[in-house]
């Protein structure tokens, strides 16, 4: 089977690259071995949140402080600014409206009630312009009875520490009674399926109106709008105070919605999305990739003019660590991880862990290196790239989208 471009990995970077190419009329296929880490996104994208231990206000300006191995340094600040605009427009095209831009971070609110710098946030989510201040005096933080995936006390305390009064009314609805029968399944996405019905939304709105006395705003976990934001808007219209959504623990409804919207759009453009199949072998000849084999298509090689590797980091098995090496399992690309595994980690799980910035090495155009030589018709994009650190620098989603678009631009 032949395509113009073959993308391995169906997450945020693979889909972004696929859409950009399919839009230009290219024949593109994506091989996706299972669902992806988009399912963990609580509704915000981050371009660059922290450099040298300080929150970043203007990500584009802060790129100058990054070392030369960071993917943004390879692209250059001006081009990143350009591509960031395109990324926002692409999300709008697929039906995801966002606030924010690349020259000024805002703050998103985490499920634990803390704030983190963000680049784009889905319209309707709670955000703030300041790290330690929220735009309300008193909020009503709604708790849905039985909802296990929301650490309500953490969230409430976090918000209180920013000087806001918080009340946490518990709402129990008839439509949720059924769901409570299966406690382990009261997850954000299951609730979203219940709130897909207009009558459930009306019940919710009424219960909120009855229980949120004199608060200036209502905050509610983001458990609405798995297909689109129609029900979110419906709820906002029916609640008689300003209402904002708060990120939940995974699987996050917002992430599932972004994933479905990107994929739907990609397929509408004629892209082939091969789900549940895993690339298991890449055949190379000198400095080029000649074909990819998958576990399900068996004797049918997939061939293309260009190959894009977007298989993610450790979590998605784009990178693997055993007791001796960190390696890229598909092609055996060169990584920037030292062989001494004592150096991979350091004390403090949530701290600056060296392994978080491990990944494959590429040249300035994201052609990956194998045995020190570049593969000329292959590219690596997204979380598999070395030189950045999503946890400490807050650059994960940004690197995924920006490198995807940078590579799509290079493919003729």
């Amino acid at each position: 089977m032949k395509f113009d471009t073959l993308i391995v990995g169906g997450g945020l970077s693979g889909l972004t690259c696929g859409i950009a190419l399919a839009k230009r009329g290219k024949r593109v296929a994506i091989v996706a071995g299972g669902q992806n880490t988009l399912h963990f996104y609580g509704g915000s994208m981050e371009l660059l949140g922290n450099v040298n231990g300080k929150d970043v206000d203007n990500p584009i300006e802060a790129i100058a402080q990054l070392n030369e191995n960071h993917p943004y340094s390879k692209i250059g600040a001006d081009s990143v600014a350009e591509l960031a605009k395109k990324a926002k427009a692409l999300l709008a095209d697929v039906g995801i409206q966002t606030i924010g831009d690349a020259t000024h971070n805002h703050y998103r609110i985490t499920p634990m009630g803390t704030t983190k710098p963000a680049w784009l946030t889905i319209d309707g989510m709670a955000t703030s312009d300041k790290a330690d201040q929220l735009p309300w005096n008193k909020v009503s933080l709604v708790y849905l009875e039985g909802f296990i995936d929301y650490p309500i006390d953490f969230a409430a305390n976090g918000i209180r520490q920013m000087g806001v009064q918080v009340e946490t009314p518990t709402i129990s609805l008839d439509c949720l009674k059924r769901a409570r029968r299966s406690a382990t399944e009261m997850r954000p996405t299951n609730l979203a399926k219940i709130f897909a019905s207009t009558s459930a939304v009306a019940q919710l709105a009424q219960a909120i109106n009855n229980s949120c006395g004199d608060a200036d705003a209502v905050l509610i976990p983001a458990v609405l709008g798995i297909d689109n934001d129609d029900v979110c808007n419906m709820l906002k219209a029916q609640v008689n105070k300003p209402l904002f959504f708060l990120a939940t623990l995974p699987p996050a409804v917002t992430g599932v919605r972004i994933n479905a919207a990107l994929r739907h759009y990609f397929q509408m453009l004629g892209g082939r999305y091969i789900l549940g199949d895993t690339a298991c072998k890449v055949v190379t000849n000198g400095d080029t990739v000649t074909e990819i084999r998958t576990t399900k298509l068996l004797d049918m090689p997939l061939q293309a003019d260009n190959y894009v590797i977007a298989t993610g980091s450790f979590m998605s098995r784009g990178l693997v660590a055993d007791f001796e090496h960190v390696y890229e399992p598909l092609i055996g690309l060169d990584t920037n991880a030292p062989d001494d595994h004592e150096k991979w980690s350091q004390y403090g799980m949530m701290g600056d862990q060296p392994y978080m910035s491990y990944g494959v090495m590429t040249d300035g155009n994201f052609h990956p290196l194998k045995d020190g030589k570049t593969l000329t018709n292959a590219f690596a994009i997204g979380q598999i790239l070395g030189g950045h650190n999503p946890v400490v620098m807050g650059d994960g989603t940004g690197v995924s989208m920006i490198t995807a678009l940078a590579v799509a631009n290079q493919i003729k």
Partner: protein, 423 residues
């Protein structure tokens, strides 16, 4: 010193579970039926308890459709559906009811029904009869049963097609399945037309039994295993004669290729690689330049393709969709991945009817919105469900191909091909 275990040693990759919960997002049953604990809980989480003490087995596991959508979604390759089916097999305490046996024994019921097709079709559609079935047999009264055909496919084949199959240069065997044999022989006829046009003779297997998918779903594992062994023996003979075995049903194919060894412990070595879906076989031949297709220039059709659950699990939808895309006058819309809700005999049971229809709702709405001439899918139970629940008729890709092909021109293209290769 204890040695370090480097690789997975558990069945169905169960200890690879990262507890990410992604599988629960895609389980069609958990979404609509709170009595079902969901794939993560029923699969890897529950298995940890069951291994300690079988008392932890939960009868609610029988609500699993075995659609495998959870497995397709799992980023860590945990075979959740297999875990659940195997737990049912190991721990189940209930015995299949008469109704479940009737629904599962597609061969037996099919044979009985074809003999009296006009009566069966008439009585199955009759209100009082449906009420009796609903009450006595617990088959849901809203169900329209697929009509039984008056002439079985096998009978048609033996009378009208068998004799000239040996005139071809290459050969395949056809596992037609119960559906083609009893309910919709036209698909079998279309298959013969297409294969003959591209230069292949079609043969029946020496013995064909239902693949047993419905028996597996209804807990009749021993019967399923017996039938499976018969199928494997017949297929081995066919393969020894250089005749690969083709089907037109994704579920039959999946069951015999993957469920046989994974769940029933049937050895299908040597068969598995030579047992394929017709669309895959044809696509590959075209792709390798071994056959050529000529299409009728006036053919026009707008198709919405639905990826059946087991087709999705096999990862083969791309063969069917790429084959359909070769047809110049065909416009293809790929429907978003949603289960139709019927899953074999599941949706036929009274206790599952509501769940089944609720699961299918999104798909039905997408189909109506796409306004296609036909829906296309590789699974026959999906066909029943979609035709019952939407205004659109469903065609197997092979039937579409049979309509779109210029049969004479295709035959000429491929017979000259053979001459050239012989020379």
């Amino acid at each position: 010193m204890a040695t370090t275990q480097l690789t997975s040693i558990s069945d169905h990759n169960f200890e690879q579970c990262l507890k990410c919960s992604i599988c629960t997002v895609y389980c069609p049953v958990a979404a609509v039926n709170p009595a079902y604990p969901g794939p993560k809980q029923a699969g890897p989480d529950g298995e940890r308890y069951r291994l300690k003490d079988p008392k932890f087995f939960d009868e609610a596991l029988k609500l699993c459709l075995n659609c495998k959508r959870c497995e397709v979604a799992c980023p860590s390759d945990v075979r959740i559906g297999d875990l659940i089916q195997q737990a049912r097999m190991k721990h189940k305490s209930y015995r299949p009811k008469m109704r479940d046996m009737m629904l599962a024994s597609t061969d037996l019921v099919g044979t009985m029904a074809t003999m009296v097709a006009p009566i069966t079709n008439f009585t199955l559609g009759l209100k009082p009869v449906k009420a009796v079935m609903h009450g006595v047999m617990a088959i849901d009264k809203h169900r329209t049963f697929p009509a039984y055909s008056q002439q079985k496919f096998e009978a048609w084949f033996n009378k009208n097609a068998r004799d000239y199959q040996n005139t071809f240069a290459k050969h395949v065997s056809y596992f037609h399945g119960c559906y083609v044999n009893y309910n919709f022989p036209q698909l079998g006829k279309d298959f013969v037309t297409v294969m003959n046009a591209v230069g292949y003779g079609v043969h029946l297997l020496e013995k064909e039994k239902c693949c047993g998918v419905a028996m597996i779903a209804n807990g009749m594992y021993n019967q399923a295993r017996k039938q499976g062994e018969v199928n494997m023996a017949s297929m081995r003979k066919s393969i020894d004669q250089q005749r690969p075995v083709l089907t037109t049903s994704s579920t039959c194919t999946f069951t015999m290729r993957d469920e046989y060894p994974e769940l029933l412990g049937i050895n299908n070595d040597g068969v598995r690689d030579n047992l394929s879906l017709a669309t895959r076989f044809l696509f590959q031949l075209v792709d390798e330049g071994k056959i050529k297709l000529a299409f009728r220039p006036e053919f026009k059709m707008r198709i919405a393709y639905h990826t059946a659950c087991h087709m999705q699990r096999m990862g083969w939808a791309i063969y069917s969709t790429e084959l359909l895309r070769m047809i110049p006058g065909l416009e293809l819309i790929e429907l978003d991945q949603n289960c139709c809700g019927i899953s074999g005999t599941y949706g036929f049971k009274k206790e599952n009817y509501e769940t089944s229809q609720a699961i299918g709702e999104t798909l039905f709405a997408d189909i109506e919105a796409a306004k296609p001439d036909y829906v296309s899918t590789d699974c026959e139970t999906c066909k029943w469900q979609i035709e019952m629940s939407t205004s659109v008729k469903v065609l197997n890709p092979i039937s579409i191909l049979a309509q779109a092909l210029d049969i004479d021109a295709t035959r000429r293209l491929n017979s000259s091909e053979w001459h050239r290769m012989d020379a």
